[in-house]
Symmetry: none
Subunit: 152 residues, 2 copies
DNA sequence: TAACATAAGTGGTTAATAGTGGGTTAAAAT
DNA sequence: ATTTTAACCCACTATTAACCACTTATGTTA
């Protein structure tokens, strides 16, 4: 079964003196009643933070369990993906506290860019994202290959 | 299954001080009852905006969900496609608000050209479209290639 | 074809929501 | 016991969305 979440869009918000970040209303509205206010935040593979609604996270965990720890890649990935996973709630204003370890990892200072990517939400330092945009130009060949699989 | 939408025609409308654009009645009438008033607007490949009825977008989304974020190409592709996608409703007058990021991207000032292209609607700055019309003359060879796939 | 009726396009005002900032109290950690 | 952290509450401002109103175009009927 595929995800019930379809986060999209980009937003520029700010982090306050208490490390609180607001979740953009269009994204917040998608949190189901059951998962209300609860989600998991962890390190992204890129230098950003990933937010999953709690029941999405449970699906991810099921998939992660399939990975054998005999592979070094798997071990490293699992370790880094799980050790920084925090269960978080947002307050009555729709904000959450970004854990210090993720403030450091993402190098977020004042401004925050928030991007909806289907079943997860990415939290970026805007300056860093700009750099990534420039350097991560995916070569045409990769896109050509993708185009054979995705028809948009 | 092919699309239920067959948007056609060109219209010249205007954007108002609140960045509202009217959807031409002939196009608006095609929005089904279920999708009433809801659609997705995003960056086109050219310097225009693309509008998809929400259920057209869901077809695209289903394909995007197949892509694993463990692949870097996929991550960049997903992020860059989804970050500019806005879920939008039009008001009781049949207008919608063009997000600021797309106002910038399309360089739309006052006049707006709206074109129906089968399953999507394109939103252009008329001046820009004129330039593209002149420079984008498709060479004969490309048409030859197309002819192998499309029978018109 | 003239008059009327209806729909379409445009403009503005008001009410509701969203984003941000800060303070107070309760819980937790040192 | 003291300091730090986290939850909760209140408040202000800016933005957005809902509502109302007017003008122009289109179409219909006498």
């Amino acid at each position: 079964m595929s995800s019930q979440y379809t986060f999209t869009g980009q937003f520029t918000f700010s982090i306050d003196s208490k490390n609180r970040i607001n979740i953009p209303a269009p994204l917040r509205k998608q949190f189901s009643v059951k998962d209300k206010k609860t989600f998991v935040i962890t390190r992204g593979i890129d230098q950003c933070a990933w937010i999953y609604p709690i029941n999405e996270w449970e699906i991810i965990q099921t998939e992660l369990k399939q990975l054998s720890s005999l592979s070094k890649t798997n071990r490293v990935f699992l370790r880094n993906h799980l050790r920084h996973a925090n269960i978080i709630k947002f307050d009555s204003q729709g904000r959450f506290v970004l854990p210090q370890s993720l403030v450091d990892y993402t190098t977020i200072k004042k401004d925050v860019t928030i991007i909806g990517v289907l079943n997860k939400i990415e939290i970026w330092n805007p300056n860093l994202l700009r750099k990534v945009d420039q350097s991560d130009e995916v070569d045409d060949q990769s896109y050509e290959q993708l185009s054979e699989r995705v028809n948009i």
